[in-house]
Symmetry: C2
Subunit: 266 residues, 2 copies
């Protein structure tokens, strides 16, 4: 194979992961040249590695001859540690919240500077929102993100607030000072709000799901159209669901093994 | 690295996929020696490749020092072609069915000899079932599987029926002849049933989601406790939801480009 214009020092695993990373955007299928452009790898290299990924099932060929993420990758990824357990445990509570509100209900975990959406329940005709399952929302501009950020260590908060904070709408809070105040208020009242900060026309109320330590394991939110009821109206229901999930997760954790001590006592 | 007892001809991509495949079972985390045992690869090879997968985010280290599937793999896999679109489109219909039945509602696609569960909605105290999201059910022993199999080409059906058909319960149909009759009946009436064939105490009613060709794109089912109502009671609701999803998917498909002809007419 050609390989003469390959960047030295990149392993095959790195190249394979660069190819898979190219699918993290919103396009379900990519051509060979799309993949070469996205990764900066020679077409021959992309072709060779993509073919191996297709043999495995991590990628699939589409009827048009493009590449798409394969169902085998999805099957393995469904075992992801931060997802497995959390999603199943949270589902009945998310449904309860959805039954009550009939608005979008979202479950997200913190990943880097984003809230990664693990689950989303939507009515057929709910307000248009940005987030979809597997998608990301910025921590500083979404209610679910602010709930996660407010319960993270102070140094994590400062690291996020030190970044560029672009405005998504005229209402996005883009100064570190305003956001610091907002996070303190979120901690004080126990829930986060977003008022058209991410999408014009959508408001949201979120609460963190407390974990065994100080940090949240995840957060949940309800997203509804602006101008109907104030989003804080839903805060007792959102908080109750978040605490319900925390309690259910806690009950599932393996208990400390005490049989050895018990045997010693007998 | 050692490599002296490595099987020749296996590429690094194959070895990486063997490591990821080891997570397809029900264990969320695996140790280095678990991975070496599951893949048959030398520990040094597993260690080297797993470290690269951790750097990427496809794997994560657990607090105990084991390996687990990483959230990055899940994020990319959420774009899987057979999942993306289908799941989002189906969700409001699955919720409608769940509101009506308050029983497990499942969405599955056919993959090899299995029904792969794409989505599952469960009430907090529903009947115990085998299936979970990312899990597999045999085509011949589950209602959702029989709905998929009944709408697949005759040669696919015969290939599945020619395999070993182990009994999961005393009610599992294990003869090709009985299953052929069952599939014909499924096609005639437009829905599939399972009577404790997969789990004792659970019965199910399923319908295929017709695609643009003859084959189903997916199937949905309702799983409920045996001995309450006959599972066929829910067949009109299950079929209505399946057709609703098919219609919604159809409306989303890109329409044939006709602007060129229109330009020619003008």
């Amino acid at each position: 194979m050609s390989g003469n214009n390959e960047v030295p020092g990149r392993t095959v695993v790195t190249k394979a992961s660069m190819i898979l990373d190219a699918f993290a955007g919103n396009r379900v299928s990519l051509s060979l040249s799309d993949l070469a452009r996205a990764t900066g790898l020679p077409s021959s290299t992309v072709h060779r590695i993509a073919r191996e990924l297709v043999t495995w099932g991590g990628l699939e060929r589409t009827p048009e001859g493009n590449y798409a993420v394969g169902i085998r990758l999805w099957e393995i990824a469904a075992r992801s540690r931060r997802n497995y357990g959390l999603r199943e445990t949270a589902m009945p509570f998310l449904h309860g919240l959805f039954d009550l509100t009939r608005q979008h209900v979202q479950l997200a975990v913190m990943d880097g500077a984003d809230a990664l959406l693990i689950e989303k329940i939507s009515a057929a005709h709910a307000v248009g929102t940005i987030g979809r399952v597997g998608g990301r929302l910025p921590l500083y501009a979404s209610a679910v993100g602010k709930a996660l950020l407010a319960s993270s260590p102070a140094e994590t908060q400062e690291r996020i607030l030190a970044r560029r904070l672009p405005a998504y709408t005229p209402s996005t809070l883009t100064s570190a000072r305003a956001l610091r105040r907002e996070l303190a208020e979120t901690r004080r009242r126990g829930f986060a709000l977003a008022n058209e900060e991410m999408s014009v026309g959508a408001v949201s109320c979120a609460a963190a799901i407390p974990g065994p330590g100080r940090e949240a394991v995840a957060a949940i939110s309800v997203v509804m159209p602006a101008g109907e009821v104030p989003p804080r109206t839903w805060s007792p229901a959102v908080r109750a669901a978040a605490f319900g999930i925390a309690r259910a997760l806690c009950q599932q954790r393996p208990q400390p093994v005490i049989s050895a001590q018990l045997t010693g006592v007998q």
